[in-house]
């Protein structure tokens, strides 16, 4: 029982982190129609930035996160401007381009990090929060969860309360109609990828002290993001958040009792089942033919 509760608590923390990059992926797909395969690598770049600036050069953790966010966002904006915009007519082309970027980012990380084992970043926040006597959550995880929640809430405000947020949702709903209404869809695409990649940078910053950092860590991230996106319903942000939390708890529990590989296999099978039974996911709506 103790183990069970502890796993759920860990799962929730993980869920906040999953939600950050899954939401970014959904935003980019919703607005631009591109499956950004390099999204996991963006998280990796964020984490690498923390390792380089904070662990190697002693920059403060928070400023390092800020740099990570800016750096990843700039990469995202460049991708949109140079790759996704020119290939807008063909969604497959955008996806292939993002695979190209994925390789390039991995190589850059490998060059900067050098060969050798995965890197670790010592947690900037030491100590552990103890609740109900036996439930222990390290402060680093508490921090991560708090920032994730804050970021998601801000995103929600941005999307529902601002002019840009409104326009962004309009483009996601129907690009052509939005264009007819005079919305500058290219600019909105920049906003969408900017926000989406900024969240990926933040996610990388938050995960850095909690995981092993290496150039290939993006793979697990993108697998998770796909599962979460599909289970939540493609194009649904609230679905992605809900699915991220549910999947994180599910994954943590299965990992504890059966091991990580079985957990991932179950997640993938779950995703295929969702695709069969309810292709629109938990919260998604699909416009009929």
């Amino acid at each position: 029982m103790e183990l069970f509760l502890q796993s759920i608590a860990n799962g929730l923390v993980q869920g906040g982190f999953f939600a950050l990059f899954a939401v970014g992926l959904v935003l980019i797909f919703g607005v631009m129609g591109v499956v950004n395969f390099a999204h996991g690598e963006l998280v990796m770049v964020g984490a690498f930035t923390i390792w380089l600036l904070h662990a190697q050069y002693g920059l403060g953790y928070i400023p390092a996160i800020a740099v990570a966010i800016v750096l990843v966002t700039v990469i995202g904006l460049v991708m949109e401007r140079l790759l996704f915009r020119p290939t807008r007519a063909d969604p497959l082309a955008g996806l292939i381009c993002s695979i190209g970027i994925l390789f390039i980012l991995q190589v850059i990380a490998a060059l900067i990090g050098g060969d050798g084992p995965s890197k670790q970043v010592p947690p900037p926040y030491q100590g552990t929060l103890v609740m109900f006597e036996s439930l222990r959550i390290p402060y680093q995880r508490v921090f991560s969860l708090a920032i994730s929640v804050a970021a998601l809430v801000s995103l929600w405000f941005f999307l529902t309360r601002t002019r840009y947020g409104w326009a962004l949702r309009a483009v996601a709903l129907d690009r052509e109609a939005a264009e007819l209404q005079g919305i500058n869809t290219n600019r909105i695409s920049m906003v969408a990828i900017g926000v989406g990649t900024a969240l990926a940078g933040l996610a990388g910053g938050l995960i850095a002290p909690l995981t092993n950092i290496n150039p290939h860590m993006g793979h697990n991230v993108i697998v998770t993001a796909f599962i979460v996106t599909i289970v939540g319903g493609v194009g649904s942000l609230s679905g992605a958040v809900l699915a991220a939390i549910l999947y994180a708890v599910f994954h943590t529990l299965i990992t504890v009792y059966f091991g990580a590989t079985i957990a991932t296999i179950s997640g993938l099978v779950l995703m295929v089942v969702v695709l069969i039974v309810k292709p629109t996911g938990l919260m998604g709506v699909r416009v009929s033919e």
């Binding site: 797909f29 499956v35 790759l83 020119p86 290939t87 063909d90 969604p91 497959l92 082309a93 996806l95 292939i96 381009c97 695979i99 190209g100 970027i101 994925l102 390789f103 390039i104 991995q106 190589v107 850059i108 490998a110 060059l111 793979h219 697998v223 796909f226 599962i227 996106t229 599909i230 493609v234 091991g259 590989t261 079985i262 991932t264 296999i265 993938l268 099978v269 995703m271 295929v272 089942v273 695709l275 069969i276 292709p279």
Partner: protein, 328 residues
């Protein structure tokens, strides 16, 4: 679209010269390059079978894993039952085809993005099964000690005879793939790609044809996987990751997927290119990534389209050239 397969004298002559060159090649190569030539031949089958799957317009991400299914089938059947290569290869194809047939039920309910992601998920689940069930599949280190076949007293551990064998098997498979594409079945697959509702309105069961393409593509790539493990003697889950899948995609796209021979050009040119940048081991993936992007942006029809492009750029008599072509 489907160029009529008329064999003219010059075509035959070029074919004969190419064949002789191909047969002679391994004798001029070192051991390392002989290996490479065999893997290249196997990868040609991987890309051509992938193209069959994409004919209906759906891009799957499970093809590499299907190659793995073939490879594991061969490894298991050799290690446990000591089956001869005549049986293991068809078995490899059949196993991959069967798994594809089962996967049709969930996967073919989806199209485009959903199919892409669904096929990725299904493939990754299969691959992780190899990692997880150590007892059967050997886990991360995979299955080893698959003995090289000896056929009619010829030891296939030797690259040259195995290259010839591979060439024959791949040649037969390519011939079958070519005939399928240029038959009514191929036409129907194209039709489903361009306008599925129109095809359905005249009685085409689009689901069945998509399933057929998927199963056949998997069958042939299963054979490719079998050929690989017979030569390598071992198989691991890491040989069939999304990374290898991406290579298949790159070969097909850079070569050009509108023509049967486009992917072949892609895999041959890029393998040679790859050899020439071996010394840049670390940055090799980035060079690939950059090339992939450049080809998408500037050569969306692939290398295969270059001759036609050149023709339209140079010479005002290109019109008469085209005339001559269409007269054939």
């Amino acid at each position: 679209m489907s160029s009529k397969g008329g064999f003219t004298m010059p075509k035959l002559a070029i074919g004969a010269v190419a064949l002789i060159a191909l047969l002679a090649t391994p004798h001029f190569l070192g051991f390392h390059h002989q290996d490479l030539l065999i893997f290249l031949t196997i990868n040609v089958l991987a890309v051509c079978s992938y193209r069959l799957v994409t004919l209906t317009g759906e891009w799957s991400l499970i093809h590499a894993v299907m190659m793995g299914v073939g490879a594991y089938t061969v490894a298991l059947s050799v290690n446990h039952f000591d089956l001869a290569i005549w049986f293991t290869l068809p078995l490899a194809g059949t196993a991959a085809g069967l798994i594809a047939a089962l996967l049709c039920f969930p996967l073919l309910r989806m199209t485009q993005f959903y199919f892409l992601i669904g096929s990725f998920a299904a493939g990754e689940a299969i691959r992780l099964t190899w990692v997880e069930f150590v007892g059967v599949f050997g886990g991360t280190s995979g299955l080893r000690g698959v003995e090289a076949p000896v056929v009619w007293g010829i030891d296939f551990l030797d690259p040259i005879p195995y290259f010839y064998f591979t060439l024959v098997v791949v040649g037969i498979c390519l011939l079958i793939l070519y005939r399928i594409e240029h038959s009514r079945i191929g036409l129907t697959l194209h039709a489903i790609h361009w306008k599925a509702p129109l095809a359905e309105s005249v009685g085409v069961n689009a689901w069945r044809y998509r399933a057929l393409a998927f199963i056949l593509g998997s069958f042939f790539v299963g054979i490719a996987g079998g050929l690989k493990v017979h030569y390598l003697g071992s198989v691991t889950p890491n040989q069939f990751t999304i990374g290898f899948m991406v290579f298949i995609l790159i070969w097909v796209i850079v070569g050009g997927y509108n023509k049967f021979y486009g992917p072949v050009i892609g895999v041959v040119v890029l393998t040679i290119f790859d050899e020439s940048i071996r010394s840049f081991e670390v940055i090799r993936p980035a060079i690939y990534g950059g090339m992939l992007i450049l080809s998408i942006l500037f050569l969306p029809m692939g290398l295969e389209s270059i001759p036609a492009k050149l023709k339209s750029w140079f010479g005002s008599d290109s019109a008469s050239d085209e005339q001559a072509l269409s007269d054939q």
